[in-house]
């Protein structure tokens, strides 16, 4: 437990030594993993064609970087993922708020949504192609269905967790609906909502592979599929890492926003 006095706090902020330590800490597990991979792949315990050595992964990376493929795939997927994710999150948030506040709405839609939620994205593809064609619409909708549910469930949980006492206060003081929503329900549900947003983002990324099975010509999901086809496991791994990193960055951004919005908790 660190001393929490003014001086110490300021000093540690300035030189940010803890920041450095944190950074080192952050690095330990990734470095261990990389080391394991290096060891396993270079000792050829596993066939390099499935577990390519780091050098091969690196050269696949630089190659795809320099020939612009990486950028192209990334931009193409990011655009779809972001559209779907934003759509899915907004829908999930709206539905979650409605279902959290009005038990009737929840009772009405719960059974169907809880059933739909289980269905794998791949199974939707035929119907999506039928209803929305083979363009981006189908892909975006697939991502939407993926990111919708984590946001929904976490929002409902957050909303229903808002203390009854605060709502009684709001009722008595005739707080406007808008304020009840924006300044009581939302702040109270926020930390749970952000978990939903983070899970939704990763589900969005995971659905991109299924989505880009529908007539894509670029994209990280497309590339993984094709690289698997062509048995270029180094490319597969480059793209796995890429998805991991980009997803990780998105996650970091969401967490940063959460920290900012929830700053009253630590104030």
């Amino acid at each position: 437990m660190a001393l929490e006095t003014g001086k110490e706090k300021q000093i540690s902020r300035r030189i940010s030594l803890t920041g450095l330590v944190n950074l080192a800490n952050n690095g330990i597990v990734p470095l261990t993993l990389i080391f394991c991979w290096w060891y396993l792949s270079s000792s050829e315990i596993f066939p390099p064609i499935l577990m390519p050595p780091l050098t091969k992964i690196w050269s696949a990376f630089t190659k795809n970087l320099t020939n612009g493929l990486l950028a192209k795939d990334l931009i193409s997927s990011l655009s779809i993922v972001l559209q779907g994710y934003i759509g899915g999150s907004l829908l999930g948030l709206t539905a979650g708020i409605l279902m959290g506040i009005f038990p009737r709405v929840k009772r009405l839609f719960d059974p169907v949504l809880n059933g739909l939620r289980q269905i794998p994205p791949l199974a939707w593809i035929p119907l999506l192609i039928l209803w929305f064609g083979i363009g981006d619409a189908s892909k975006v909708i697939l991502i939407i269905t993926g990111s919708f549910f984590p946001v929904l469930l976490n929002t409902v949980n957050g909303i229903t967790g808002v203390p009854q006492g605060l709502l009684e206060f709001a009722k008595l003081y005739k707080i406007k609906k808008r304020d009840i929503l924006l300044r009581i329900y939302l702040p109270g549900a926020l930390s749970s909502i952000f978990v939903g947003l983070r899970l939704g983002a990763s589900t969005a990324w995971m659905s991109i592979v299924a989505a880009e099975m529908i007539a894509a010509t670029a994209g990280v999901g497309y590339r993984i599929n094709d690289a698997r086809n062509l048995m270029q496991s180094d490319v597969v791994i480059v793209y796995m890492i890429l998805i991991g990193c980009i997803g990780g960055i998105m996650d970091f951004v969401i967490k940063a926003i959460a920290r900012y919005v929830l700053k009253w908790q630590r104030a």
């Binding site: 006492g165 008595l172 003081y173 707080i175 009253w264």
Partner: protein, 256 residues
């Protein structure tokens, strides 16, 4: 418009586990507009429940509660309440909490009123503090300010000064009186401090133990400002104390 309160044969019970616990039993009480009524009673007898029913926050099972002749649940009279637990919004600062729900004012006027009320409860300098950064008494004072700032027609005070030191408490009592006199607010105060009940109330209602029914009502025939050490005051206090401490004998199963 008039909004006298008429509570008639009000009863209420709660479920705890599979047992039904009667909390209010046949309460009949009329409170005139602009009156100041103090309510005292033992811990757990049902005082907060009564206030919450008047606030329209808790349903009741038998009896009627009329406000200005209208069923209370439909009544639109502007009520305010200082809750026993302060119920501040944890994510709003002191100033934001106090100003929350203050509609229909120009921003400047609103800020002015907030500032004024922060000063009133002695929280200057803590405008930007969040509730978890406040002491118990400071949180309570914030809640008091929040209730005052709305200028309700009926103000329900549930042990509003319980966490305050003697001095702050006296100051706050005088502020309440001032507001009551200026704004003709109907005030219903639940308190454990018999002194306070007499000092503030036009009448002091003494409840029985759970289920609460009205045991006795004392009328405080003293002009304000009242002298806490005056003769009549002390006499009344002694009577109320008598009535209060007596209940032990009548209800032996209730440990007191």
């Amino acid at each position: 418009m008039g909004f006298d309160l008429h509570i008639n044969a009000l009863s209420k019970s709660f479920w705890v586990g599979s047992e039904s616990i009667p909390v209010l039993d046949n309460i009949t009480l009329d409170i005139k507009e602009g009156e100041f009524v103090s309510i005292v009673g033992h811990s757990g007898c049902g005082k907060s429940t009564l206030l919450k029913i008047i606030a329209g926050l808790v349903e009741y099972s038998a009896g009627t509660v009329l406000c200005g002749g209208q069923d209370l649940r439909e009544s639109d009279v502007h009520r305010g309440m200082i809750f026993q637990d302060h119920r501040l919004l944890p994510w709003l600062t002191v100033a934001e909490n106090i100003g929350f729900g203050l509609y229909g004012l120009a921003e400047q006027e609103k800020q002015g009123r907030i500032r004024e009320h922060i000063e009133l409860v002695g929280l200057k300098g803590f405008e930007k503090a969040y509730p978890h950064q406040l002491s118990g008494g400071m949180a309570q004072r914030t809640a008091i300010a929040r209730a005052f700032v709305h200028k309700p027609d009926i103000l329900l005070l549930d042990e509003p000064f319980g966490a305050l030191d003697a001095l702050t408490r006296i100051q706050m009592q005088d502020e309440v009186l001032k507001i009551w006199e200026q704004q003709k607010t109907t005030m219903i105060l639940v308190t454990h401090d018999i002194d306070e009940a007499i000092y503030l109330g036009d009448r002091v209602v003494i409840n029985t133990n759970r289920p609460a029914s009205i045991k006795k009502i004392f009328t405080v025939d003293l002009a304000r400002p009242r002298e806490r050490t005056g003769h009549y005051f002390s006499l009344l206090k002694a009577q109320i104390m008598q009535e209060f401490f007596d209940s032990k004998k009548r209800d032996p199963e209730y440990y007191l």
